[in-house]
């Protein structure tokens, strides 16, 4: 039965009429599903086949509004169907359903053509938000602990819920515009019923695609609210080097030595960065 459930639906959201070996699906279903006075075996099995796909597609639809806006509504559903056929859920929670979207879009760029790069940026950004929403948090290191350790010895780990993204498009502004346009959808929780196809062809006002422009984003949470913060390239580089295990001093020296900026008071700038990041609780003991 599970093979039948996972099998993709037809373009008209029905169960496929033929089984994998070419035999009639009606015959296959009647081998193990009883008909009743209103529904054939095929129709009864089809309810579950449709429910499976409606549920998982609906989940991706709601969780990836940015990717949906990038590729378009219809193409998104095709992409999602192909993704789920390649990567069925292997987690007890639907939260993880999109965890391999980035890999999928990277490996199979045709699904997001002609905006592959933008789609990849967007899905990285949207997955980072999933992580920031309910990812683990470690005890932040205190300012005193930071001050008590010499910079050449001090190593800091970044919070597991914090993602640092170097992106080629301004997807943050784009997603804000998309969310402003769309009303939040609410997903059913304990009911096992899915009686409607995903919202496949709603007409929505178009939002202008983001321009190509390198941005550096920190996707994080503070007081359990989700935020994304743009960083300048040097600040981003410092954080990334800290995340790779360099000491504070080594990270700062490397960034300062490679920075193109000259008219800057580096000690003051670095102090401001660390004050902000510490206040946000981004650092943990390495």
């Amino acid at each position: 039965m599970s093979n039948a459930l996972f099998r993709p639906l037809t373009p008209r959201w029905g169960m496929q009429k033929r089984w994998t070996d070419g035999s009639a699906m009606a015959d296959v279903a009647s081998e193990f599903i009883k008909p009743n006075d209103r529904l054939s075996s095929f129709e009864r099995l089809e309810i579950y086949n449709r429910q499976y796909w409606f549920r998982v597609l609906d989940c991706l639809y709601d969780d990836y509004p940015g990717l949906r806006a990038v590729v378009g509504e219809r193409k998104f559903l095709k992409l999602a169907r192909a993704y789920l056929a390649r990567y069925p859920s292997d987690s007890y929670t639907l939260r993880d359903l999109g965890s391999r979207l980035e890999k999928f879009l990277h490996d199979e760029p045709n699904w997001s053509a002609p905006r592959q790069e933008l789609a990849l940026d967007m899905v990285r950004f949207e997955w980072a938000q999933v992580v920031a929403f309910d990812g683990p948090a470690d005890e932040p290191i205190t300012p005193d602990e930071i001050l008590d350790t010499p910079p050449d010895k001090l190593k800091l780990r970044l919070q597991p819920y914090l993602s640092l993204l170097e992106l080629d498009f301004e997807v943050d502004d784009f997603l804000i515009a998309i969310k402003k346009r769309d009303s939040d959808a609410l997903r059913g929780e304990a009911s096992n019923a899915m009686n409607a196809a995903p919202k496949a062809h709603r007409r929505r006002r178009r939002v202008r695609f983001p321009k190509r422009s390198k941005i550096h984003l920190a996707v994080h949470r503070h007081d359990n609210m989700l935020y994304y913060m743009r960083l300048d390239a040097d600040a981003f580089a410092v954080l990334r080097l800290l995340g790779r295990g360099l000491t504070v001093e080594a990270a700062c020296v490397e960034v300062v030595s490679q920075s193109a900026r000259t008219e800057i008071d580096w000690p003051k700038q670095i102090k401001e960065w660390f004050d902000t990041w510490s206040t946000l609780g981004w650092f943990c003991r390495a």
Partner: protein
């Protein structure tokens, strides 16, 4: 049975499912609610807003965990990570009992995220009961299994659904979360008398009950949890209360969720039947 081993000898009244659209209202207004049922999997996370909300709820309310992904009926072995996280949550919430569905939903590590009906055979009953026992031993909390609504039946079945529920619960020595709406939905989809179901299960094992709304389609009924409870279900609930006693009852409303007050008021209608039964039993 108001209090029994399967609900941790508690005597809870009418609860509602804790759902995201109501968080703000509940946390701000702190309405009087006897208990909340949480979907375990929604809170088996490592941090963030879900756990902050749970903390606030636990400070004020009694909470019972209801799961959607243990899949006692799956042939797969348990997902150990799932069980470990579930146990951590059980210790955190101090849920007096825990419920999940009598169904399958995963195969070879792939999840359908659905509550699929099982073939009602003795072999499947034994397998399922073993898994329930193993889960209870690991989680160290009483377990109630919930009958699911279904839209298909198998040729392989050797007994009725209520006989299967009885067989599994006796073999596992576990409780039953009796979903009255699910019985009604399945009875319409499979042409059986829902009162035969209610009359022929081990009433002493019922630790909790569910009520909910459903949707009628041309050829079948779907368990949508997006309506008030319908009259036939209230009648069955009244009958169940007579058989079982005023048991902890939970209204499920999961889609097109109205205001908190509307959901809560719908749930509190169950009090009419509970009070009538209490009056009858003390007369």
């Amino acid at each position: 049975m108001p209090a029994n081993p399967f609900n941790g000898y508690t005597d809870y009244g009418i609860g509602i499912g804790l759902r995201v659209p109501h968080y703000r209202h509940i946390l701000a207004k702190k309405p009087v609610v006897d208990w909340f049922e949480i979907i375990s999997e929604n809170f088996m996370v490592d941090g963030g807003r879900p756990l902050e909300v749970l903390d606030a709820i636990l400070e004020q309310y009694r909470v019972v965990q209801h799961g959607v992904a243990i899949y006692f009926g799956s042939a797969d072995k348990f997902n150990r990570e799932h069980l470990r996280r579930l146990k951590r949550l059980v210790k955190y919430t101090k849920t007096p009992w825990l419920s999940d569905h009598l169904c399958w939903g995963s195969v070879d590590g792939r999840y359908t995220h659905d509550l699929l009906p099982m073939p009602y055979t003795f072999a499947v009953a034994r397998h399922t009961a073993e898994k329930i026992r193993a889960a209870r031993d690991f989680l160290e909390v009483p377990i109630c299994v919930e009958n699911v609504s279904s839209y298909a039946e198998y040729h392989a079945s050797e007994m009725t659904e209520w006989e299967f529920l009885t067989e599994v619960s006796e073999l596992a020595d576990c409780g039953i979360l009796l979903d009255v709406n699910n019985i009604y939905v399945s009875s319409q989809n499979h042409n059986f008398n829902p009162y035969d179901y209610l009359n022929n299960i081990p009433h002493h094992r019922v630790g909790q009950m569910h009520i909910a709304g459903h949707s009628k389609f041309e050829k079948y009924i779907l368990d949508t949890h997006d309506h008030p409870v319908l009259d036939p279900v209230w009648k069955m609930y009244a009958h169940a209360i007579k058989l079982i006693g005023p048991t902890a009852t939970l209204l499920e409303w999961d889609d097109r969720i109205p205001s908190f007050d509307e959901v809560h008021n719908e749930a509190l209608k169950a009090n009419k039947f509970r009070d009538a039964q209490l009056a009858a039993s003390t007369a």
